[in-house]
C-alpha cells in the first residue's frame, strides 16, 4: 500500500476532481455540439447528389485520417499564427472535438438512416410531409434505436481522448495525476500506481453511467 497516502496529501484529491471536471466539461460540450451538428450532417450525407456526397466524404476522411493531436495543434497554434486570433486552450479543444465528433456522428447517423427501409421515406413523402418533417417525425425516431449504442461508444471515446488537451496547456485529470506523481517522485516513487488507479476509477465513474443509460434507452426504444 506504499504510496497511496499521496492521494490524500495536501489538496491532491480535490485537484484530481477539479481536473476531472475539466475533462467532463470539455467532453460534454463537444458531445452536445457533435450530436446536433452530426445529426444534420448525417441527413446531408444521405443525399444522392454526387457533389454533396463527395464533399461529405472528403470532410469525414480528413477528420479521420488526421490524429486529434494534430488537430489540436492546428486549431490552438495554427489559427493564432494565421489570423492572430488567440483561442484559449479549452475553446480550441471544444472546437477540435466538435469537428471530430460531428464527422463521426454524421457517419453513424447516415448509416442509421440508410438502414431504414425505403418505403418509409416514400410513404412519408406521399403522405405530403416535407423532407424536414419526414426526418423529424418518421426517420429519426426509428433510426435512434440502432444509433444509441454507437453514440455512447463515440462519447466514451471522446471522453478518453480529451487526455490529449494537456499538450495545449489545459490541465485535465490525467495531467493533474502526472503532476502529483512527479511532485512526489523522490519521497514516494511507488505513488504512480495509486494515482493511475484513482484516475482509472474516475474515468469509470463517468463512462459507466453512460453505458447504463445507453442500455436503458435501447430497451425503451426497443419496446416501441
Amino acid at each position: 500500500m506504499q504510496g497511496i497516502e499521496v492521494l490524500f496529501m495536501g489538496n491532491n484529491l480535490l485537484r484530481l476532481l477539479s481536473g476531472l471536471w475539466v475533462t467532463i466539461r470539455i467532453s460534454l460540450i463537444s458531445i452536445g455540439f457533435s450530436l446536433i451538428l452530426g445529426t444534420l450532417l448525417g441527413a446531408v450525407m444521405t443525399s444522392k447528389k454526387p457533389v454533396i456526397k463527395a464533399i461529405c466524404r472528403v470532410y469525414l476522411e480528413i477528420v479521420r485520417i488526421m490524429p486529434q493531436l494534430v488537430w489540436l495543434f492546428v486549431v490552438f497554434f495554427g489559427v493564432t499564427k494565421l489570423t492572430g486570433l488567440n483561442l484559449g486552450g479549452e475553446t480550441s479543444a471544444v472546437i477540435v472535438f466538435t469537428i471530430w465528433g460531428a464527422a463521426e456522428m454524421g457517419d453513424l447517423v447516415r448509416g442509421a438512416f440508410l438502414s431504414i427501409p425505403r418505403h418509409q421515406f416514400e410513404s412519408s413523402l406521399s403522405l405530403g410531409l416535407s423532407k424536414i418533417q419526414m426526418y423529424v417525425f418518421i426517420i429519426f425516431p426509428q433510426a435512434i434505436r440502432g444509433l444509441i449504442p454507437n453514440v455512447i461508444n463515440l462519447s466514451t471515446r471522446m471522453i478518453k481522448t480529451t487526455a490529449l488537451v494537456s499538450l495545449i496547456g489545459v490541465t485535465e485529470v490525467l495531467k493533474v495525476g502526472k503532476q502529483i506523481i512527479d511532485a512526489n517522485r523522490f519521497e514516494y516513487p511507488n505513488a504512480a500506481i495509486w494515482v493511475y488507479a484513482a484516475i482509472f476509477f474516475m474515468y469509470f465513474l463517468i463512462c459507466f453511467p453512460l453505458s447504463m443509460a445507453a442500455r436503458a434507452l435501447t430497451k425503451k426504444h426497443g419496446g416501441e
Binding site: N11, V44, V70, F77, K81, G84, G169
Partner: protein, 291 residues
Amino acid sequence: MKIFKKIAAFFAASALAVTFAGCNNQQESGGNDGSDNSGNAAYKTVDQIKESGEVTIGVFSDKNPFGYVDNTGKYQGYDVYFAERIAQDLGVELKLVPVEAASRVEFLETAKVDIILANFTVTDERAQKVDFALPYMKVALGVVSPDSAIIKEAEELNGKTLIVVKGTTAETFFTENYPDVKLQKYDEYNEAYSALQDGRGDAFSTDNTEVLAWAKSNPGFTVGVETLGSTDAIAPAVTKGNETLLKWLNDEIAALADEQFFHKDYDETLAAVYGDDEAYKENLVVEGGKM
C-alpha cells in the same frame, strides 16, 4: 434540402480551410530561416506587459525539481522561483502556463506566453525560431557507478560496459569519442537504472542533472564523473524579434549576479534533491549568464 446543402458547404469549407492552415503551418516551422517573422503573432513588449499588469510565463508542471506543482496545487521549482522574481521586478502579476517539451517553441511563436522558462536547452535549431536570453543553468553528461568500483574518469571506461539510453546525448557522445567503451543500450530510463543495480554494466551515463538526482536517492551509487562532453546552456526564451523583453531579461540576469540570485534559487529548490555540495552547485548554476 437547400438548408442541408448550405450546412454541408459550410462544413466542407471550414474543414478545408483548417487543413490548408495545417499545411501552411508545417511549412513555416520547417522552412523558416529565422529572419522572417511574419508567422509570429504579435508579442508584447516590456511596456505592454507592464501596462497589462501581467506577465505570462510558460513552465513545466511535471518536471520536479525544475518546474512542478506541489501537493497543495502551487507551482514550485528552480524555473518557477526565477519566474516569480521576473514578475516581481517587472512589477506585474505572474501568470504561469503549463507547457510540454514538444510545444514550447509553438507557445512562443504564437505569443501565447511572453517567456518560456521550462528547462529550455539552447540549440542552434531552436535559436532559429525563438530568441534565447542569457543562460541561468547548464547541463552536461554525468557518469554514475557503484561505490565498490567508482569510475572517476571517462578513460577508465575503456574496455568496460557502459549503460546508456537510446537516443540520448550520452549514446552519441560515447559512440563518437570513446569507441573502446562497450555500450549496453536500453529504451527507457527505468530499465537502464535496473540494469545498473543488477550489475549488468559497470556504469551508466546520461544528463548530469538526472544521474545526480538518482544517486542522491539510491545509496551505494556515486556520480564519479560530474561533467563530461559539451556543456549545454539552459536559458529563458522569448518570441523571435521581441527585443525589448530580450534586453530586459539579459539586464535582469546580469543584475541578479550581484546578489548571487541563482545560488539562492538552487538552495531553495534544488538543494533538497541534489544536496548542498558546492561542487554539485557549480556544475549546474550559471550566474550573470557566464558559462
